[in-house]
């Protein structure tokens, strides 16, 4: 399903200075698998997620998702690909604080111009799936960290994506809420989603639902 082949990713710091985020990394993830990318901060985990989502392009190598080379998609096609295939859960949730839960969740649906009935149907499904029905009209800035996390997951899942990418999803959560998140991940895996989690949280290591752990160190696969 996901194949990274000999990926190198450099970021320009200045015109003359570059940092190597990924150095000839290859990996393969099958459909329906849950994979944990582990490693210290700056090891290149987030860069891998960005490449899989088509948010950035590799300096060299190829990123194949469902047989498509994501790295070669134009910006608009990459957006369409994300809209249809990817649900992204960010480290700091990246919700719009002044909007309520409902409007945050439907943000990915806006470009699709769906009917109101279809939107309601989808929203109801994710609100119920992640147990946040009662929070629907509350502004997210007034929610707890765990609740915000669930809203972020609901937003990522609203389009029923094949792949869920989560970047340090428990970095801002306590242990109880982190365990709740893991339960959600298990549920999503049962629903058939392919899940890639970038984390250095030990809670994820050795989990039953995790099919594979990939360790990165200084941009290289260990």
């Amino acid at each position: 399903m996901i194949q990274l082949q000999n990926i190198t990713k450099n970021y320009d710091i200045t015109k003359r200075e570059q940092v190597i985020a990924l150095d000839r990394v290859s990996l393969s993830i099958k459909e329906g698998q849950c994979v944990v990318l582990k490693g210290a901060s700056g090891s290149g985990k987030s860069s891998v997620l960005s490449l899989i989502a088509g948010l950035s392009k590799p300096t060299s190598g190829s990123v194949m998702v469902d047989g498509k080379n994501i790295a070669k998609l134009s910006d608009n096609f990459a957006s369409k690909f994300r809209l249809e295939n990817i649900g992204f859960v960010f480290q700091r949730y990246n919700l719009i604080p002044s909007l309520d839960v409902y409007h945050n969740i439907i943000t990915p649906l806006v470009p699709l111009n769906l009917t109101d009935e279809e939107i309601q149907k989808r929203v109801q499904r994710v609100l119920s799936l992640f147990h946040i029905e009662s929070k629907r009209d509350i502004k997210v800035k007034n929610l707890s960290g765990g609740e915000q996390q669930r809203v972020a997951i609901a937003r990522a899942y609203i389009n029923n994506p094949k792949i869920i990418l989560a970047d340090e999803p428990t970095a801002n959560l306590d242990k109880k809420l982190s365990l709740e998140f893991i339960e959600i991940i298990e549920r999503l895996k049962e629903e058939g989603s392919t899940i890639v989690i970038a984390t250095h949280d030990p809670l994820f290591f050795g989990l039953e639902c995790v099919d594979c752990e990939i360790e990165l160190q200084n941009g290289k696969r260990v």
Partner: protein, 392 residues
């Protein structure tokens, strides 16, 4: 069908985005509305005054002959009228008696016009005389502005004019006229020529100037030339000279004002551009999030377009309404004094309601598309960056 063309969810998102940044939105709308309303008020006033001036032009004589002494206009001999009537092409000649009368109570000048009942010079403009014979009696007809100033000094039924040799000429106020051209007639007092001569201390065989009407307007210049040869010491003014004089003064004032406005408008867009191009880190991050969750560059630009369009169009409409209200209901206080004399007449003169679609379109195209560009271009620049770079 239209729901497919316009994505209402995107419009809804744009409205929510504007409401999220209330203070910024209010700031931009306030500046935008102020500028649109000021610019439109300026154009509305200009159009109204131009309309009034065009009415004035119609009532002007085709040639005016003035006597001069020491470079100043002096009284002219009425005996010349018969000689001038002999000139080929001249259809009518009138010795006009008119001038300014200083009203010390209000520190203001009235325009006194003497007319005879048989004259048709002013009839075109002043159509509301009840009975022209009444002018032969000791009465005056006054313009709107004069009436208001008279009543301030408690002159309701009559007015006492003081002649240069300090005699008092008491004339009854027979009525108020509302002439077609209010700009010109507002400060006018009409009386018989005999009374006007008394007030000005002018001899019976003297007049202020002589007005000539020509059968064929194409011959005006030729006849003017002939008059200059016949009366080399007299000043000959043609209809075009008078109109040009009005326009020169008026265009100068409006030109200076327009330049000031263009500079202001340009500054406004520089501020807006500066504000928008330096999109806040929060806004840049939002663009990055939207891209990350699947919005395309087109979607982001469309959303920004709706945001900008809502602000610009709402501000434009509000600006138009305010300008209409300010100019035609409130009669443009303060701003009108830039174009009109800042005396009490000008304040009492009501600007005629003239709707010029060209002006509305001009201001629209001068402001709205520029604002749209100043919002969309920076948003496009951010949207074309890699999303992870924007969020970093």
């Amino acid at each position: 069908m239209w729901k497919k063309i316009i994505n209402l969810h995107l419009v809804e998102y744009a409205i929510a985005a504007l409401l999220r940044q209330k203070s910024k939105t209010v700031f931009i709308v306030t500046i935008f509305v102020s500028l649109i309303s000021l610019l439109l008020s300026f154009f509305f006033i200009v159009n109204s005054i131009k309309y009034e001036l065009s009415l004035t032009e119609d009532t002007l004589p085709q040639i005016i002959l003035q006597n001069q002494k020491m470079g100043r206009v002096s009284d002219i001999d009425t005996a010349l009228v018969d000689d001038l009537l002999q000139l080929e092409g001249v259809t009518d000649v009138q010795a006009r008696v008119w001038g300014y009368y200083y009203f010390s109570n209000q520190d203001i000048y009235f325009t006194l016009v003497g007319i005879d009942s048989f004259e048709n010079i002013y009839k075109k403009g002043f159509t509301l005389f009840r009975d022209s014979d009444e002018l032969e009696k000791d009465v005056i007809y006054i313009g709107d502005g004069v009436e208001k100033l008279f009543s301030k000094s408690y002159y309701k039924d009559f007015f006492n004019f003081v002649t240069p040799d300090l005699k008092v000429v008491k004339l009854n106020i027979a009525g108020v006229f509302k002439a077609e051209n209010r700009l010109e007639s507002n400060d006018v007092i009409v009386m018989s020529k005999a009374n006007a001569r008394k007030v000005f201390g002018l001899d019976d065989e003297k007049a202020t100037d002589i007005a000539l009407w020509i059968a064929n307007p194409k011959e005006i210049d030729t006849i003017a030339q002939k008059l200059k040869q016949l009366y080399p010491t007299y000043k000959v003014i043609t209809h075009d000279d008078i109109v040009l004089g009005y326009e020169k003064l008026f265009n100068y004032k409006s030109g200076v004002f327009l330049v000031l406005f263009i500079v202001t408008l340009f500054t406004f867009f520089m501020i807006i551009y500066e504000k928008m191009s330096g999109m806040s880190s929060q806004e840049r991050k939002e663009v990055g999030i939207l891209k990350a969750i699947g919005w395309s560059i087109d979607d982001i630009i469309k959303e920004k377009f709706y945001e900008a369009w809502l602000v610009a169009f709402f501000s434009y409409l509000l600006g138009v309404v305010i300008a209409f209200f300010y100019v035609y209901i409130l009669n443009a206080p303060f701003l009108r004094n830039i174009f009109l004399d800042s005396n009490d007449y000008a304040q009492q003169f009501e600007l005629p309601f003239i709707v010029d679609l060209q002006t509305l379109f001009l201001v629209f195209f001068l402001s709205v598309p520029l604002y749209l560009a100043s919002v969309i271009i920076p948003a496009w620049r951010v949207a074309t960056l890699d999303a992870d770079e924007v969020m970093r």
